[in-house]
Amino acid sequence: MPRRTAAADLLKLLRDAEGMVSGELLSRELGVSRTAIWKQISSLRAAGYRIDAVPSQGYCLATEPDLLDEAVLRTSLGNGCLIGRRIVCCGETGSTNTDAFLLAEQGAEEGTVLLAERQLAGKGRLGRRWESPTGVNLYCSVILRPELPPYEAPQLTFLSAVAVARAIQITTGLQPAIKWPNDLLMNGRKVAGLLNEMNAETDRVGFVILGIGVNLNMRADQFPADLRTPATSLLLESGAPVSRQLFAVHLLRELDREYLRFQQEGFGPVREEWARYCNAFGREVQVDVGPNSLQGPFMGVDHDGALLMKLSDGRVERILSGDVTVI
């Protein structure tokens, strides 16, 4: 019997049961050994199902995970949208960005969205890891094919940050802050990380992958102890679990709206909206690029999104990449 069917049959028995189901009964009904049942239970748990086990009584399905469902997402988004006109959900993958990059190389259409329940090798900037446990957060990559020269493509970084900020606000009522260029913070802790990758020739963009990771229902004990920056989740900040399915719908709608406006009106509206969430106005910032470090008052962002900071000699420096700390 194929493994997925076995898991689905087991799940049905657990759902139909009132209270505990013995391992013996499950074994008999499914025609497999009790060891096989135990293995299935373990894999369901790994997929986010909470299954209680009581010795000599059996198993009981306590809670089911809030799984992402392509069909439900597609129906919620409707037909008018570009972002999310094709949605691919998968249980487990290395990195949705890597998958999206490969799909785009094979010609996947603009607006294709990849979502995963779990990432085994979630990526951060410069080979850093993005912690991606099963079924609690949102791991999402979006394929765009903007008609832009490559040097304007970094503007999309700001666009995705604004869309995530708005989705958080709509879902929880709480206002996140954006740290240049696109880290989403709540009470100074990182709640979402965005990483974009581009395929381009000298004068045209092939495609851009917007990678979006948002900590939705992650509990304090699920964060690794050795995080570079303090992190949080919407659950920890708002005290209530967030429907991942609903959050995904809000996020894709906001991305769609911002992208359409960007194509029609350019970077101006995105930049203005971004500034509403920016946490650095009137503050000092420190920027680390490789071994170099600069510090000075934050002077806003330039017409193309570059961070402007005043140096001690009065010059204004344009920063295009680096780790920013607001002091």
Binding site: R125, L126, Y151, N182, E201, D203, S321, G322
Partner: protein, 156 residues
């Protein structure tokens, strides 16, 4: 001026014996000088144009000139692979990983040779044909300009 027009202009000039060319209008000023070994293209926006609502076009036009300039220069120094964006140059995917490319290494077509990051957008630069790395022009984690040569290569 559009990049393609600028390229066309440079092509037209290099086909003649003209060594110096200057063009001036309300919007921009273009200077092209040709020497024995190098060809320099400068393009500066007129001050009035900078203050116009379309001021964005000015800083964008400037790097466009740089890319055009590198093309003729490359014919002399060997071919180069240039940065498609302004950003930070990285030789490896992470500080712990090995560099994508070393001097002397043979690179296959489509192989990634470096990353250029601008504002959290990572651009993997690939070799457009099989080649050998002759020189790495920029140090790791240094800023690069639009059109700036990153590698000198030898086509194989």
């Amino acid at each position: 001026m559009e990049v393609k027009d600028l390229k066309q202009l440079i092509k037209m000039i290099t086909e003649t014996d003209i060594t110096e060319f200057e063009m001036d209008n309300a919007e921009e000023k273009i200077v092209i000088k040709r020497g024995q070994r190098t060809e320099i293209v400068q393009m500066t926006a007129a001050p009035a144009y900078m203050q116009a609502p379309a001021a964005m076009a000015a800083p964008i036009a400037a790097p466009a000139a740089a890319v055009a300039a590198s093309a003729p220069a490359a014919e002399l120094a060997g071919e180069t692979i240039n940065s498609p964006i302004v950003g930070t140059f990285y030789r490896a995917a992470s500080p712990e990983s090995a560099p994508f490319a070393e001097v002397g290494q043979v690179i296959e077509k489509g192989q990634v040779i470096c990353l250029v990051e601008a504002m959290k957008l990572f651009n993997e630069i690939e070799a457009e044909f099989k080649c050998k790395i002759v020189k790495i022009c920029v140090e790791n984690a240094q800023p690069v300009e639009f059109g700036q040569p990153l590698f000198v290569i030898e086509k194989i």
